[in-house]
């Protein structure tokens, strides 16, 4: 009775888990970047662990029922079975290799941005994101956290000729569709993390460092960047709209934004 109950509960838990997952209510947001490789590696991992979860729990349910206590019966004295153990280790190792190989390949691409990528700086602070785009020269000017002031929120080095034409956005991240983008991520104060769920990518914003990731926005539309590292009492409000547009629309929008030269006069 007790054994049957235990087995049934284990099976029901497995079924419930599968049904909740299969309902698709909480599942990946539609992918809007080139990182189908990330989804692929993650889905493969989820499939393998999902299979192991189902099989191991069903085996457990079976064993509990099949070998339940009987007064007259006696357990089988079986201290070990080295051959069986080696086979199981082999299967597990194979599973690990199947997960790791595509994962590491995808990771190596994730950390190698293409040379022609558009560079955009992301600056985190309690509790908002702002952005700096390179001007016509295509280069971001140098910045130094020591130069940050109310008039120069990015700490841009005004003696760097590449800096003056940089373009600032304090509210939204606009991106041209189909063009590789590499984000240079900084923080003014504490650690934040720049996470765009629809693009699958995130990276911490760490004061004193510049961190990176790259992607190609593939779908036009409005997305959301959020903060994924606890950064104080406004953490859960720290977000920013991300707009992926046709290249012309992007250029038009960019032309309307202020440059460093226009805002940060010494």
């Amino acid at each position: 009775m007790q054994a049957a109950l235990t087995s049934v509960v284990l099976v029901v838990i497995v079924l419930g888990a599968l049904i909740l997952a299969a309902s698709g209510i909480w599942w990946f947001t539609p992918l809007a970047s080139n990182w189908n490789e990330i989804d692929g590696a993650l889905l493969l991992t989820l499939a393998v662990i999902g299979l192991a979860f189902v099989v191991l729990n069903i085996v457990l349910a079976y064993l509990v029922l099949r070998y339940r206590y009987r007064e007259q019966s006696r357990a089988h004295f079986l201290p070990d079975n080295p051959k069986l153990e080696k086979i199981l280790i082999g299967i597990t190792a194979l599973g690990i290799v199947i997960l790791l190989a595509p994962g590491l390949l995808a990771y190596s691409r994730f950390i190698s941005p293409p040379r022609d990528a558009l560079t955009i700086e992301v600056l985190g602070e309690q509790w908002r994101w702002s952005y700096r785009y390179p001007g016509p020269d295509g280069k971001l000017g140098r910045a130094n956290p020591k130069l940050i002031s109310p008039k120069n929120p990015f700490g841009v080095d005004l003696t760097d000729p590449a800096a003056l034409d940089d373009i600032l956005s304090y509210t939204e991240l606009h991106l041209p569709v189909g063009r590789p983008v590499v984000l240079h991520i900084r923080s003014k104060d504490v650690i934040h993390s720049f996470f765009i769920p629809s693009f699958r990518a995130k990276m911490d914003a760490v004061p004193g460092m510049v961190t990176h990731y790259w992607f190609i926005p593939t779908v036009m539309g409005r997305f959301q960047a959020v903060c994924a590292e606890l950064c104080g009492i406004g953490h859960h409000r720290m977000q920013s709209p991300v707009l992926v547009e046709r290249v012309e629309d992007f250029q038009q929008w960019l032309a309307k934004q202020p440059t460093v030269a226009a805002t940060v006069k010494p």
Binding site: L20, I38, H76, I96, Q126, S149, A201, V206, I233, H235
Partner: protein, 597 residues
């Protein structure tokens, strides 16, 4: 140990309060840890109330939410799990299971408890100081944890937290040195290392790990305290906080993360290895069957401990550390899955062809296997570096670590408490209440934490006071959050039943037999129950066999205690095999079938 130590001297104070008896100290550790754990549990209810019914509770605002979140995490991981497994189970089981009269250093042992209690008092004091306890997250990442006004509790709160941790580390070091020395030096005649019960192996290996891991936290904690108190900049680069340039520069926040996780990841195994050992003993005893692959179980624990020291940066895949580290730490992290999987297979193979008694300790043993499976498996996507990129710092992580080091570890702890309760108190617990406790906790834990994996896949970040700003949540999410909250409160109520059962049974429970489970290990062979102060009376036991002689073919009963010599068995043989006697497993001595030790 001197005779003087163990004379039944002194009155109430020296016997029950300032006692040097490892059993009393174990109970002190356990009660203190359970009480502080109850406090941590109540904090989780308040967190869940906010998430299930946002804004309905005036006293939960973002500041207090993050403070309770931080304290909940730190209390549960350090002051409950670590303390109860090493200080509670370690203290009770090591001397009794290896046939010693006490720990190697009884006075140090007593000191360890009182220093631990001091760390708990300092921790709790943070709730009474101006500004309250720190709300910088249990990981205490600087600069958030180091700069004034960056996080709630940045005044007194963070300093008390760090001081409390430093005190805790002192207590854990005293305990750890004691456990390691006792296992190495105080084993009774015949108790070779490879005859020790797996509970002792798990606690022993975890204690060794603690001695290597805690110093990193100590160093990080002291440096962070200096950054807080003295204005140093170990972890703080040039920053502008709330529009103000601070006079700090030159530090590196990642340095703290490396120190923290160099401790923090082994800490996971410091909790899990004793739990694995305890679960192994529960499963073997109540299946009436030897643990499958004892040698492999010991080697797997040692391998987990060793590899566990070179996986820490998988917590830092998106921290901004050199991205090439990702390759190494992903590989080392996934390799650790192999010894972990071996353990799961061996538990299942222990059940196979067993004679499984589904009493309360065994139910928790089954619960342990199931929750360790899902908790362990969900570590794989987080360790496989590219899959971690979207999942990192989402609810997937919350589901993963709660199931593997929270729920699974607690399954082993609860199972262990029920299992050894008759020995500790001399009374039986209430069986039906125990079963109620199990079923609500086990099913409830799945209901709470499984949906979190799906929320994580969707991209819901963890440590959010509310989810209002997230535009990609389906409308059913608030219903789900209510459901999780209801499940959490129900599971919480079941823990009150557990505590009530413990108190009632300790006072009024049915008298227990000396060995109610028919177990082989030495703690069940004591002259009286509960055991006397010196554990063994006139003579310490001699060990003749490993800890898992269950259902040995030819033996009269389905278990042979470790202190039963071969000769006395041969008398009772039903069918002595030709020239062999009762065979144990392949080990020197056992094969020879004699009294050789």
């Amino acid at each position: 140990m001197s005779e003087k130590t163990h004379r039944e001297h002194g009155g109430f104070w020296s016997r029950y309060i300032f006692s040097q008896d490892h059993k009393v100290i174990a109970v002190q550790y356990t009660i203190t840890a359970l009480l502080i754990g109850l406090f941590g549990l109540v904090l989780s209810w308040l967190l869940r109330l906010q998430l299930g019914f946002p804004g309905s509770f005036q006293f939960v605002n973002p500041g207090s939410y993050y403070q309770m979140l931080t304290q909940h995490g730190m209390i549960m991981i350090v002051y409950l799990l670590t303390a109860i497994l090493l200080g509670g189970f370690g203290n009770y089981l090591i001397p009794l299971m290896i046939g010693a009269r006490d720990m190697a250093f009884p006075f140090l042992n007593m000191l360890s408890y009182w220093v631990y209690l001091l760390s708990v008092i300092v921790l709790m004091a943070a709730f009474l100081v101006p500004g309250g306890p720190t709300g910088a997250g249990w990981t205490l990442y600087p600069p958030l944890s180091a700069l004034p006004n960056a996080a709630p509790g940045s005044g007194w709160g963070i300093k008390l937290m760090l001081v409390s941790l430093v005190i805790f580390i002192a207590a854990a070091t005293m305990g750890g040195l004691n456990y390691v020395t006792t296992v190495l030096q105080c084993r009774t005649k015949g108790m070779t290392l490879m005859r020790m019960p797996l509970s002792v192996w798990g606690i022993f290996i975890a204690s060794v790990m603690a001695l290597f891991a805690f110093p990193a936290l100590f160093v990080g904690g002291v440096m962070l305290l200096f950054d807080n108190l003295l204005g140093t900049s170990f972890f703080i680069p040039a920053v502008t906080l709330l529009g103000q340039q601070l006079p700090r520069e030159g530090g590196n926040p990642l340095l703290f993360q490396h120190l923290f996780w160099y401790f923090g990841h082994p800490e996971v195994y410091i909790v899990i290895l004793p739990a694995m050992g305890i679960a192994s003993d529960l499963i073997s005893t109540h299946s009436r069957k030897p643990i499958f692959g004892y040698n492999a179980m010991v080697i797997a624990m040692a391998a987990i401990a060793f590899i566990g020291f070179i996986v820490w940066a998988h917590h830092m895949f998106v921290s901004g550390m050199n991205p090439y580290f990702g390759f190494f730490f992903a590989v080392s992290t996934l390799i650790i899955a192999i010894p972990s999987a071996v353990k799961v297979y061996n538990w299942l193979l222990t059940l196979w062809r067993g004679n499984i008694r589904l009493n309360v300790p065994m139910l928790f043993g089954i619960g342990w296997i199931s929750t360790f499976i899902i908790g362990g498996l969900t570590g794989l996507p987080l360790g496989n570096v590219i899959a971690d990129v979207p999942l990192h710092d989402t609810y997937f992580v919350v589901g993963h670590f709660h199931l593997v080091m929270g729920v699974a570890a607690l399954m082993a702890i609860f199972g262990g408490i029920y299992h050894w309760f008759p020995k500790v108190t001399g009374r039986m617990f209430h069986e039906t209440l125990g079963k109620l406790h199990f079923w609500v906790t086990f099913v409830g834990a799945y209901a709470i934490f499984f949906p979190m994996f799906l929320m994580g896949i969707l991209g819901v970040p963890r440590r959010y006071f509310d989810f209002n700003v997230l535009q990609y949540l389906p409308p059913q999410t608030s219903a789900l959050n209510i459901a999780i909250t209801v499940a959490a409160l129900t599971v919480g109520a079941a823990q009150l039943i557990f505590l009530g059962n413990l108190i009632w049974s300790a006072l009024k429970g049915k008298r227990a037999e000396a060995n109610p489970w028919g177990a082989t290990t030495l703690e069940w062979q004591t002259p009286t129950t509960p055991p006397p102060h010196d554990n063994w009376g006139a003579e310490i036991p001699t060990v003749y066999r490993w800890a898992y002689d269950y259902s040995v073919p030819g033996a009269e009963r389905d278990f042979i205690p470790q202190n039963v010599p071969q000769a006395s068995l041969d008398v009772h043989l039903r069918q002595p095999a030709a020239g062999e006697g009762v065979r144990s497993r392949r080990e020197p001595g056992a094969n020879l079938g004699g009294d050789k030790i």
